[in-house]
Amino acid sequence: MKFLDEYREGSTAAQLARSIRRTVRREWTLMEVCGGQTHTIVKSGLTELLPAEITLVHGPGCPVCVTPVELIDKAIAIAALPRTIFCSFGDMLRVPGSSKSLLDAKASGADVRIVYSPLDALKLARSNPSREVVFFAVGFETTAPANAMAVWQAEREGIRNFSVLVAHVLVPPAMEAILGSPNCRIHGFLAAGHVCAVMGWEEYEPISRRWHVPIVVTGFEPLDLLEGVQMAVAQLEEGRAEVENQYRRAVRREGNRPAQQRIAEVFEIAPRAWRGIGEIPASGLRLRERYRWFDAEQRFPVDVGTVPEPSECIAGLVLQGLKKPFECPAFGTRCTPETPLGAPMVSSEGACAAYYLYGRRPHEGSESELPSAAPG
């Protein structure tokens, strides 16, 4: 497949790995922001190709992991209402709320459906006029244009039985929160390429300047991530701190203007709570006044109370890159993909699940038994 296969090729990967090895002199810790990037890193075993001086830390770029428990509980409560068809992307279905997940709710009889696009949910609303169709609008800026369009179309067409449960989060405020944390040990960032395809990278320039950190807008294929690491390491070794674009084939500095306009028309910036981290001001999106009719939280007020995160789950620290999953006392024992205590173990991009599935299980025998890439 064009523009995919070439970026997954072995000898080019090895070349980039050699280039990184030639450039690196000191130890550096880099954070890749997006869950999709974490997924690629884990799936391709990319860290094996990196020199030991480089540590990759997985950031909070998995909206699945950072959606607050209360919102999952609200989603489940709304899904259980009579006549509701609750639509969501597949990623969200397994995440535990305070007592169950959406997939659980489905097993108990709620009409929960996986869709691939918010427009699919809108289609369902059109063809089921007597039902209330609710779409779980989770995601970073990448997904916001799609959700904005669905709401915009619903308003233009007068589709009254459609609403969205909004849980949009924004990347730059999260990055700043991480950088502002006293324990922050991140030297540079691999920014989320598709978020930047929408938003551009202008808003990262002040962050890079203020904190003096390199930020490299990076794609999602193994070669993209390797090139992104190489560019970040080069900056760090040279003492530079600027925003660079690795994902040149897809991202322009100004981003996608029509998409930004539609987002601004439908949504406005709002404070948002991040699971495990807490509330970050101006870090989320909510529907503007004109489109409030489509806000599922307003249309279906459900009381779920405030819910504390289970005390053992250190998701917050893992999400900020302050702790590695296997430093958690529950990792691999009380908390596994089979019996998750928190979202990072459930989501396929969650750092804990990634570490568990990748085999780094200090509890279960020797890591050295597992194969690893030959050096050089």
Partner: protein, 348 residues
């Protein structure tokens, strides 16, 4: 530290009810078997945990198996539930090294099912049975109220005559064995999803449902020492290899670039957010043979149309018993775990 009872259906620690994932062919299915069925029905053939039971009736070696079919939609590109019902059971017998001979079929029909649809399904079963060389010798029919069934559920059971001298079963797998796959992956799962999700293809992707006795027979007749066979169904290649790794207490190492997947199936998996290693197949199997026989086995398989794309994808090792690893295209490694439950499409 208080215990928090978070229940997540994909893996569900409290076994208080059945969830869809129990039928997914992954970890939960296996847990159900281990925790509910095996303890109740324990006996040696069942304990072998293979696709079929190997039985000895005073010297007459038989294989016996059963399978139920609940697929939706009932008709899809490349076949119907009827094809699956025949081929699936035929293949379970073939995976025991047994020539499939006789099938039974039990139908659970939903009130309101159009007669013509039933005829289509039955017709496809007849054709499939003829291709596979089996006779349907006994059956049963029940009808349930409208709303209590998905149109049609079919159970088939099958008997075959074991043709292999040695037992073809996970316990026969040895370190150093080559792991072969009989063809490209993912066609069946994608064919099903294409109907459900409204995908279109330049050339439609058809289910790969097919009987598999012919390639197995060819291997046996050539004298290939087959250690284990398993047909790939729900849960895909990853689940099948994991099951055998677990049953054999051996490690397995696969190479991603060696696993055959057609470009169009890859495209569908990319846009649906699925991993082709976990997508369902119906006319494919993995074979474990001694290293020195691998090349010969591949030659034989590639000479038969259903296994023309057979490939060598990995090997069995002594280290990390029960764990399957995958070398990625860029040379890194990951553990190829069994699915916890259903594979859900991802957008992230």
């Amino acid at each position: 530290m208080k215990e928090v009872n978070l229940s997540c259906p994909v893996p569900r620690p409290a076994d208080d009810c059945i969830v869809l994932a129990h039928g997914g062919g992954g970890k939960l299915t296996n847990q159900l078997i281990e925790r509910v069925f095996l303890p109740a029905f324990w006996c040696a053939p069942l304990g072998a945990r293979h696709d079929g039971a190997l039985l000895n009736l005073n010297g007459l070696r038989l294989a016996f198996t059963t399978d139920s079919y609940v697929v939706r939609p009932l008709v899809f590109p490349g076949g119907t539930i009827g094809d699956l019902a025949v081929n699936g059971t035929v293949n379970d017998l073939a995976m025991c090294g047994a020539r499939p001979l006789y099938l039974s079929a039990g139908f659970i029909l939903e009130e309101g099912l159009p007669m013509e649809l039933l005829r289509t399904i039955v017709d496809s079963m007849r054709t499939a049975a003829e291709s596979a060389g089996v006779q349907l010798v006994t059956g049963d029919t029940k009808v349930v109220d409208k709303g209590k069934g998905d149109g049609v559920f079919i159970n088939t059971a099958g008997i075959g005559a074991v043709k292999s001298a040695a037992e073809i079963t996970p316990a026969s797998v040895r370190p150093g064995d080559a792991i072969l796959v009989s063809g490209d992956l993912g066609a069946h799962g994608v064919a099903i999803l294409s109907v459900r999700e409204g995908l279109e293809f330049e050339a439609p992707i058809e289910s790969d449902t097919a009987p598999l006795w012919t390639p197995v027979e060819a291997l046996l007749e050539a004298g290939i020492e087959i250690h284990c066979l398993r047909d790939l169904t729900r849960g895909g290649l990853a689940s099948a290899v994991n099951e055998i790794a677990g049953a054999a207490h051996l490690g397995m190492q696969l190479t991603e670039s060696a696993v055959p997947v057609r470009e169009v199936v890859r495209g569908a998996c990319e846009i649906l957010g699925l991993d082709s290693l976990y997508v369902a197949n119906e006319g494919r199997f993995v074979a474990f043979v001694p290293e020195q026989e691998a090349a010969h086995a591949l030659d034989i398989l590639r000479g038969i149309s259903i296994s023309a794309n057979a490939a060598r994808i990995g090997r069995v090792v002594e280290s990390h018993p029960g764990i399957v690893t995958l070398e990625s295209r860029i040379g890194g490694h990951r553990v190829l775990d069994m699915l916890s439950g259903e594979q859900l499409p991802r957008i992230c």
